[in-house]
């Protein structure tokens, strides 16, 4: 099968086979980052632009390193000092940069759908690096890659995603990705933060952390955004941490071969007790490492698509 897409907007509209191609290509990129010369010339002469309308250190750094390890030139567009603050629309901003002949935009925006709007207006590739509550496809792809590396497969793996499912683009992309590849997905969190009728898409729902972790192969903790308390979704952070935070006691009760994942940045003491992040069951830093290989694969495939 051939990769034909110009953009990567989300996992919802990717086929199982397309996801598998990305994971396979990522696998061949993984060793590049462990060599003394951490670079291959695959995207030499291509220009990649980071277009981040919302702050992010990790994702932007990861994309930047991925592009550089493919020998592309990378430009990071600082939105705060740009014409966006002078009233330019996102489409005009993208079109103006595209007029300087660039090959790919990596877009993060607080509004769901912004990367898709840009992708329809430019001929360069557009990769969604997180849009509002919609999707964060490369995060889910690196999570799939990490699980596949640990278990050798995705099919049949039980993953419990814990936290604010309602507002989480990471949860959305992961639910699509893991479901498409045949995993059993369970979501868990306070009732106001679980979307209504979500079980209708074929996933389990529980409001009790103990139930979510007792049988899971992967316990996936989402970052709790503190501002949700101000919006009255939560009575208090303390209560959330008590009911849904992973502490040592719950950690000890997990199966021997259960792993913990987190998309970062962690709120130590809220969704995860500080000492657990460094435990042997934690895959958190492996996720970060794998992020580079997965993003290299996405850049390589979208920029190098068959035209």
């Amino acid at each position: 099968m051939e990769w034909k897409r110009k953009d990567l907007i989300g996992l919802e509209n990717l086929s199982k086979e397309e996801i598998e191609i990305i994971l396979e290509v990522a696998d061949s990129f993984k060793d590049v980052s462990t060599r003394s010369v951490k670079k291959v010339p695959a995207l030499r002469g291509k220009t990649v632009v980071n277009l981040f309308f919302e702050p992010s250190t990790r994702t932007r750094t990861s994309f930047e390193l991925a592009a550089k390890r493919l020998s592309a030139d990378v430009l990071s567009f600082d939105v705060s000092s740009s014409s966006v603050s002078k009233g330019e629309t996102i489409v005009d901003t993208a079109k103006n940069i595209e007029a300087m002949k660039v090959d790919c935009f990596i877009v993060r925006h607080s509004v769901s759908g912004a990367p898709e709007i840009i992708s329809k207006n430019v001929s360069a590739s557009v990769i969604n690096a997180g849009d509002g509550c919609h999707e964060h496809p490369t995060q889910a792809l690196l999570d799939l890659f990490t699980v596949k590396e640990k278990f050798g497969k995705i099919k049949g793996i039980k993953i419990s995603i814990i936290g604010d499912i309602l507002h989480s683009r990471v949860a959305r992309s992961n639910i699509w990705g893991f479901k498409k590849l045949g995993a059993e997905v369970c979501v868990c969190g306070p009732p106001p933060l679980i979307p209504k009728d979500i079980e209708n898409i074929g996933i389990k729902v529980t409001y009790h952390l103990e139930k979510a972790i007792e049988d899971a192969d992967i316990v996936y903790l989402l970052r709790l955004q503190r501002e949700r308390q101000k919006e009255n979704f939560l009575p208090s952070l303390k209560e959330y941490s008590f009911l849904y935070g992973l502490d040592i006691e719950k950690y000890e009760k997990m199966k021997k071969r259960t792993f913990i994942m987190h998309p970062g940045p962690m709120n130590r003491g809220i969704e995860i007790k500080s000492e657990i992040a460094e435990k042997e069951k934690s895959l958190i830093l492996e996720q970060v490492t794998n992020g580079i290989a997965v993003r290299m694969a996405v850049l390589y495939l979208t920029i190098g698509r068959k035209v």
């Binding site: 099968m1 051939e2 990769w3 191609i21 396979e24 290509v25 696998d27 061949s28 990129f29 060793d31 590049v32 060599r35 003394s36 010369v37 670079k39 291959v40 010339p41 695959a42 995207l43 002469g45 493919l70 390589y300 495939l301 920029i303 190098g304 698509r305 068959k306 035209v307």
Partner: protein, 174 residues
């Protein structure tokens, strides 16, 4: 070229390696896929513990903008240090020289070998880059409309080398 002839060529190559190049600090690196199999076979003939690695050159090709990303990519498997090593680089067919150019770039990103010698089973001419083999099994002079196909039993069920017409796929044994 049939199974016996291929074996004979590889035996001669093994002999040259042993006598002229020497086995100390020697590594054999095959270009995927068929070069990798030939590299394995030379090692088998030598009957010594010589490190063998496999090189995948997908990300080093120079035709990316022409034909795009290759969705089928392999992995380079060289699990040893190549610094100061004597490298025998192995491929099945030498044609334009572009594969060898890419392989050399890939190799040099992994370290600094003492030297690299190139061995190919068949040299078919029509070079587009200044590359020539140090050792070759057979040299053939064929037209641009023809292709040399090296078939090895690990992939193709049978050992043989044939010349195939590009336009109809009909072949004759080399």
């Amino acid at each position: 070229m049939d199974r016996e002839e291929i074996l004979e060529i590889l035996k001669q190559m093994a002999e040259i390696i042993e006598k002229e190049i020497g086995l100390d600090n020697l590594v054999i690196i095959g270009i995927k896929r068929r070069g990798a199999i030939i590299a394995d076979r030379i090692k088998e003939i030598l009957k010594k513990e010589i490190p063998v690695g496999y090189l995948d050159i997908t990300f080093y090709r120079d035709d990316f903008s022409k034909i795009g990303a290759h969705p089928v990519v392999g992995t380079t498997e060289i699990l040893f240090d190549i610094d100061d090593k004597k490298v025998i680089l192995v491929d099945d067919v030498l044609y334009t020289g572009r594969t060898v150019r890419a392989a050399l770039d890939a190799l040099i990103d992994l370290g600094r070998p003492k030297f690299v010698k190139l061995f190919v089973l068949v040299d078919r001419g029509h070079r587009e880059l200044p590359v020539c083999p140090d050792y070759f099994g057979k040299k053939v002079d064929i037209g641009e409309d023809e292709m040399v196909e090296v078939r090895l039993k690990e992939i193709d069920k049978k050992d043989e080398v044939v010349i195939v017409k590009k336009w109809n796929g009909k072949g004759k044994t080399l």
